[in-house]
């Protein structure tokens, strides 16, 4: 305890200087405490972990500090560890999206999830330490000199010797040195400090280190060990808050725009995400429980990037005028609205005030946005949303989001060859996850609507909006046209590409004022068109 207090006092003294050095990062003052793995595990592995970062809170391991005390000054160790930890926050990886991106690139080379995580962690450490050594005055090289090293760590240390120009006292057999020289040479050519090249740098790093990691993995398996923890702390999802994970997934979905890649990564991190509380309960990704459906998460996150804001509660004008405020009276203007009190009984320019009247306003009837029924085509001519990015599903997701954000409910009718059973109906709900689940369903069969499915969904609902996304190659298109002709609901039809069916549909409904049709020439137009139309709908009801 006393030791911990002493270490904390050192941190308190060093902290202002460190903050200034790193240009005032927005992280709280570090603490000293016990850091996992536990003491028993440390004994077994023989090396303590120096620090851990949980949601920006850096905690230094007192055991580690005590052990390194013999080799290096306490202030030096603490400063080096903090420099390292702070640089993870300020430079690499900085956010969860970058972390995911690095992992994704590493996985392309390594193939294996655990090895990809391992190599990504090494890359992150090398980048952070190199940045710190170059840009700030730091004791990190000294720390590396005293840390215990396995085979990989020796190679990394040799790399540091080469790229930092320092002597870290790496003692190695000639044979080992020969084998490692080539790896170090390759690693030394990587532009770690160029953020824009991190994706390719990560792959290069992984490629170069792969043989060594495979070798080490074999050795570990042979002796039945788990491998040493990284003394500078592991980089796992604990470092990020829930909101950072949420934002990171959103950015990653938008950046990659590739469902298989997103899915692969999310599934790899599914355990960690669940432990971080990022499950699928509540439709918003909170809470533990249900396993994460990566496909649904992908469309959810992507659609969030295209959201429109909440509609305000509309105000209604009541129709009567009442005196509201004063304005000066001008010669020649009528004076029946004169306020004799504020005019001091005088009628003269500069003194007399007249009342300006305004229509009374009050909270109107909250009509709210109508509910929406989304009809989405999942026939064989449409893209399977669980295999590749389907802009049709993305468009439907944007529409669903927009209505849900305005406190409306959304029903989904997913159809392929509906009369033959190729359909899924979701009754009106505000449960995100259920809506997305039905949207993402893919039948891949023929294309036909069963209008009898639609009638009960529409019947009895006041002012229901209809949203249909299809390529219009519908077998019973004529019935659909006839059906639309009869109903008065607002209908938005979005179809992809030009084809005779779409033209036929357009011709048939062009006179109907409640139907808007959008031909999407580029798939990228879908979110914009969908949102434009919905924004128009909401704009009409929102006066303030």
């Amino acid at each position: 305890m006393l030791e911990e207090k002493r270490y904390q006092a050192i941190i308190d003294e060093l902290w202002p200087k460190l903050k200034k050095k790193h240009l005032y990062p927005e992280i709280p003052i570090p603490k000293v405490g016990e850091v996992t793995p536990s003491a028993a595990e440390e004994e077994e592995q023989g090396e303590a972990v120096g620090l851990e970062m949980k949601q920006k809170q850096i905690t230094l391991n007192s055991t580690f500090l005590s052990r390194t005390r013999e080799k290096m000054t306490e202030e030096g160790v603490i400063e080096a560890l903090l420099d390292h930890g702070i640089t993870h926050y300020t430079f690499c990886p900085w956010d969860f999206h970058t972390h995911l991106m690095l992992y994704a690139e590493a996985k392309k080379v390594m193939g294996d999830k655990e090895m990809a995580k391992q190599v990504a962690n090494y890359f992150i450490d090398v980048t952070a330490d190199t940045y710190c050594v170059k840009k700030r005055f730091t004791e990190i090289p000294e720390l590396h000199r005293v840390l215990k090293k396995g085979a990989v760590e020796k190679v990394i240390a040799s790399l540091y010797e080469k790229i930092w120009g320092v002597d870290l006292g790496i003692l190695d057999s000639k044979a080992a040195k020969r084998g490692h020289e080539e790896i170090v040479r390759r690693l030394a050519r990587i532009p770690y400090l160029d953020r824009s090249r991190w994706p390719e740098s990560m792959k290069k790093f992984a490629r170069s280190l792969k043989p060594l990691l495979l070798e080490e993995q074999k050795e570990q398996e042979a002796i039945g060990g788990k491998g040493d923890s990284n003394p500078q702390g592991d980089h796992d999802l604990n470092s990020y808050s829930y909101e950072e994970i949420d934002q990171g997934l959103r950015d990653f979905a938008k950046k990659s725009m590739a469902l298989p890649e997103f899915k692969d990564i999310v599934e790899d991190f599914s355990e960690e995400l669940k432990e971080a509380g990022y499950g699928m309960e509540g439709g918003m990704g909170r809470g533990r429980g249900a396993p994460i459906d990566a496909d649904i998460l992908f469309y959810m996150k992507l659609a969030e990037s295209y959201s429109i804001p909440l509609r305000k509660v509309p105000l209604e004008k009541k129709g009567y005028l009442h005196p509201h405020s004063h304005s000066p009276w001008e010669v020649g203007s009528p004076f029946q609205d004169m306020d004799i009190w504020t005019s001091f009984g005088k009628i003269m320019p500069g003194i007399t005030q007249i009342w300006k009247k305004r229509e009374g306003k009050g909270r109107g009837k909250i009509e709210g946005a109508p509910d929406c029924l989304i009809a989405i085509d999942s026939s064989g001519s449409m893209i399977n949303p669980r295999k590749n990015l389907s802009y049709a599903v993305l468009g439907a997701a944007c529409a669903a989001n927009a209505y849900l954000r305005n406190d409306s409910k959304v029903g989904v009718y997913n159809f392929s060859d509906a009369p033959m059973g190729g359909r899924d109906v979701l009754n009106f709900t505000d449960h995100h996850e259920d809506i997305y689940r039905v949207l993402c369903k893919y039948f891949g069969g023929g294309t036909a609507l069963d209008l009898e499915d639609l009638v009960p969904l529409i019947h009895g609902r006041k002012n229901l909006d209809l949203f249909i996304i299809t390529d219009m190659k519908i077998t019973n298109l004529e019935s659909l046209i006839g059906f639309f002709a009869q109903i008065q609901n607002r209908i938005t039809a979005v179809h992809i590409g030009e084809n005779p069916y779409a033209a036929r549909f357009q011709r048939a409904v062009e006179k109907k004022r409640n139907i808007s049709i959008f031909t999407v020439k580029r798939k990228e137009d879908i979110p914009h068109i969908v949102l434009g139309k919905i924004n128009e709908y909401f704009g009409a009801t929102c006066k303030d």
Binding site: K19, P309, S325, S327, R363
Partner: protein, 434 residues
């Protein structure tokens, strides 16, 4: 700091929500103090009954040595029927009937500390009138004018609801800072409810009456000022004797302002501010940001703040940043305004001046936060720019240094870089050349 501590401990109970230089502060008290010291204009928002007006009153009372009764008597409350006569001054009715023009100035126009309650309920014309007056320190009525030597404005506003006007953008831009007076939490709130009212400690019937008499006297305003000062000094001495805290006299305030003005921004603070301003005003395609122009898809500068906002940063923003940065550095007894001061102050100077794009609003409005949404967005923006600055600081400062050398006649090339600031430096240099 003594004043801050006194208000925090005895008058305005609330949690600290801001950390600067290892010390924790409550933003409402802190920025109100800085506003009072720096002759600024502060907009205080918050739910009804959370101490928006009270916090301003306490600060004004201690900084300007006015008893609370006088401050209350000079407040303008925001309602649509407010008139210029109630805010600025009215004709002397007796003289008016005799055909003479003479103005009876209101307490509001005479007193240096101006508090407007619920400014958003005033019609736009009145809002504009008050902001113009405080901007210039001049109050005019019937061709007569008084000039306030020192003045500061505290305006409160509830969150927008039915029955209120919005403060339009050109007017809200004139406020230096916006802060929220927050709910102090159940425990502190209970404590506030349990204890007796504290405002009596800043009251003094005799001095209040004296000051009312002086303000209402039919003497020229210039002659009233020394009299008011004398009474205020007496009140200040009374406060010092009874409460142990020394309010500020006029010469103290002047001295403080001189010292604040002498505090310069260090190079990092300056470069960082310039970087932020560049991102808030730059548009590669249209020359500058404009509210009615939309961003083009595929613009090279998509990763910067200019892509997330609709409007252009006004020239008042750097003024506010500098003023409050200096004030904060002075308060913390630092010799220079450094980047931490500036980063602490910017969100509050920026929050009310930025119009964010719809997609940004919708992506973030449900984020977990402690601050009201505009301040939260501003803090996030500062964090993002701060990260960019960390990576580029040396090169950016070098670009500015090279710009200076070129400006002075050296034959050099401006440095290249991806950030909008590099483009702005080039523009300035080519403008200067032509």
């Amino acid at each position: 700091m003594e004043l801050y501590q006194f208000i925090h401990d005895h008058l305005y109970f609330n949690r600290p929500d801001l950390e600067i230089k290892g010390e924790r502060f409550n933003s409402t008290i802190l920025f109100s103090l800085l506003t009072g010291l720096k002759k600024g204009k502060e907009l205080i928002i918050g739910e009804p009954g959370l101490g928006k007006t009270t916090s301003a009153e306490f600060v004004c009372s201690l900084i300007y040595q006015f008893p609370l009764g006088v401050i209350w008597g000079s407040e303008v409350s925001g309602h649509p029927e407010q008139t210029e006569e109630k805010i600025v001054g009215r004709p002397d009715l007796g003289k008016l009937n005799r055909g003479e023009e003479d103005v009876v100035w209101t307490n509001f126009s005479q007193i240096p500390t101006k508090i407007v309650d619920e400014i958003n309920r005033l019609p736009e014309t009145k809002q504009s009138m008050i902001l113009d007056g405080v901007d210039r320190g001049n109050w005019e009525y019937l061709n007569e004018m008084i000039i306030n030597e020192e003045y500061c404005l505290f305006a409160t506003a509830n969150y927008q609801d039915g029955g209120t006007n919005t403060i339009i953008a050109p007017l809200v831009d004139r406020f230096d800072v916006m802060v929220e007076s927050r709910y102090p939490g159940a425990n502190l709130s209970f404590l506030i409810g349990k204890s007796n009212r504290k405002d009596h400690i800043l009251r003094h019937v005799k001095y209040e009456k004296e000051l009312h008499r002086i303000f209402n006297a039919k003497t020229p305003y210039e002659k009233k000022i020394p009299l008011v000062e004398e009474v205020c000094n007496s009140f200040g001495e009374y406060i010092h004797e009874t409460l142990g805290v020394k309010p500020l006299q006029k010469r103290d305030r002047q001295q403080i302002r001189l010292e604040m003005d002498d505090t310069d921004l260090d190079q990092d603070a300056s470069a960082f501010t310039r970087m932020l301003l560049a991102e808030l005003s730059f548009c590669d395609r249209y020359g500058q940001k404009r509210s009615l122009e939309n961003c083009e898809e595929g613009c090279h500068y998509t990763g910067y703040l200019c892509h997330e906002i609709k409007n252009c940063a006004s020239n008042r923003l750097p003024i506010s940043i500098k003023q409050y940065g200096q004030a904060l550095a002075w308060l913390l007894e630092d010799s220079e305004v450094d980047i931490e001061h500036v980063k602490s102050v910017i969100p509050y100077t920026l929050a009310h001046r930025t119009q964010w794009k719809d997609e940004i609003v919708s992506q973030r409005e449900r984020s977990k936060r402690d601050d009201p949404f505009p301040i939260f967005l501003a803090k996030e923006a500062v964090k993002t720019v701060s990260q960019r600055y960390r990576e580029q600081s040396e090169h950016l400062k070098d670009a500015l240094a090279v710009g200076s050398k070129i400006f002075q006649g050296e034959s050099l090339e401006p440095l290249e870089g991806d950030h909008p600031l590099y483009a702005e430096i080039k523009k300035d240099l080519s403008t200067q050349r032509s």
